[in-house]
Amino acid sequence: MIEIRVRRALGPATIETDIRAEGRTLALVGPSGGGKTTILNMIAGLETPDWGRIAFDDVLLFDSDRGVNLAPRERRIGYVFQEPRLFPHYSVAGNLRYGARASAAHKTLVEFDEVVEWLGIGHLLDRRPQKLSGGEKQRVAIGRALLSRPRALLLDEPLSALDEARREEILNLLERLRDRLSIPMVLVSHRLDEVERIAVASAQVEPGRKVTLRV
């Protein structure tokens, strides 16, 4: 069960969502500037809704009525940002392992070697992020999020920076993740055709319109 019912005023516009879904993989689709990233930031705890409630399965992350607002590090939300945000002073292996230490108490989702194999990044482990291509960075960012043992995974425009061949590769990978992992995923994209292959349900995000999704 994914519940994202929030409201946040951003300048003149208001972002409002009413998402309650049993489905595991959701997509938020809409033009840029519509508030998709803001919704992901609110789920991850990087932005605070004016009002609302966010819960994944039976874990409450935010509830304005009850005064619940977990810090980002307590939420265990794996977040793959639109720009990969890899740590430039760590190797690829260091980036991948960064989140594993803090979350050692939690159940392992996938093992390090397994992630490296899935993502095909074994030959990159000693490199610095600056030496990677866009697609390679994206894969490392996905691996880093997975290895932090998240309760859910957020992906912001995971395909937008990639060329056609790389897109296909990441799409296949996301499909495999969806089938293999038991955690919910929320994808954001400005193109519906990019994500409809992966998501079981999608909602339109447009400025000034409430985002509604019931599955």
Binding site: G45, L46, R73, R76, F81, R85, A102, R144
Partner: protein, 226 residues
């Protein structure tokens, strides 16, 4: 070079190194607070840190004297509790040098912390890192060039410090007589011109070495960041 001159040069190096290194952790802490934390009294802290930069050094030296003099409350307490004193000792010269260099260190470090991409810190937070761990593993390593720049600036300021030092701990050969305060003496001496020239040359050498060292470090950082 006479023995007195050698003693003064070595003392200057010791005073400046100890002053800069001992104040570095505080400078990093204050720079982080000013760059990243919103708290009441932030502006007051900012002003207090910058005061030694704008006050006449004599005033700073006098303020140190009325705090840490042997008969002043704070100085007497340190002496009683730890058997430690700043008054008219080389440790006092190091304290004066540290206070005078502090604003420069904080400014350099603060700028480099502010330049660290906050989005990387956010990413670390979503990966479960605590504030302390984010600071130690992301913010500080990425701000290191600025930390070293601050250290060099603090050291350079400490080598040249005169007003606060002579006011606070006087000009005692072998204890508080630094390169700067010794040069002051030789300029007052009608026959002091040769000594002044020698000491000036040494001061220039120290300055050039410090600058070359910082430039080399900066290059090293740029190379390793690539």
């Amino acid at each position: 070079m006479t023995t007195a001159e050698q003693t003064a040069v070595l003392l200057s190096l010791r005073v400046a190194s100890v002053g800069a290194l001992a104040s570095l952790p505080f400078a990093i802490a204050v720079a982080y607070l000013l760059a990243r934390v919103r708290f009441p009294g932030r502006i007051a802290l900012d002003v207090a840190v910058h005061l030694p930069l704008v006050l006449p050094p004599v005033v700073t030296g006098w303020l140190l004297l009325i705090e840490f003099g042997r008969n002043e409350p704070l100085g007497a307490f340190l002496e009683r509790a730890f058997g430690f004193s700043f008054a008219f000792r080389w440790t006092g010269a190091a304290l004066a040098a540290a206070v005078m260099g502090f604003p420069l260190m904080v400014r350099a470090i603060r700028l480099s912390i502010e330049a660290v991409d906050r989005r990387l810190e956010q990413a670390a937070a979503t990966l479960g890192a605590s504030r302390l761990r984010i600071f130690a593993t992301v913010t500080l390593p990425l701000a290191l060039p600025g930390v070293f720049a601050g250290l060099i600036l603090g050291f350079a300021k400490a080598i040249g410090e005169f007003g606060a030092t002579i006011t606070f701990v006087a000009n005692i050969p072998g204890e508080t007589q630094t390169l700067a305060t010794l040069i002051y003496n030789t300029t007052q001496d009608p026959d002091g011109a040769p000594a002044t020239w020698r000491l000036t040359a040494i001061a220039v050498v120290i300055a050039v070495v410090a600058l070359a060292g910082s430039e080399g470090l900066a290059r090293g950082f740029r190379a390793s960041a690539r």
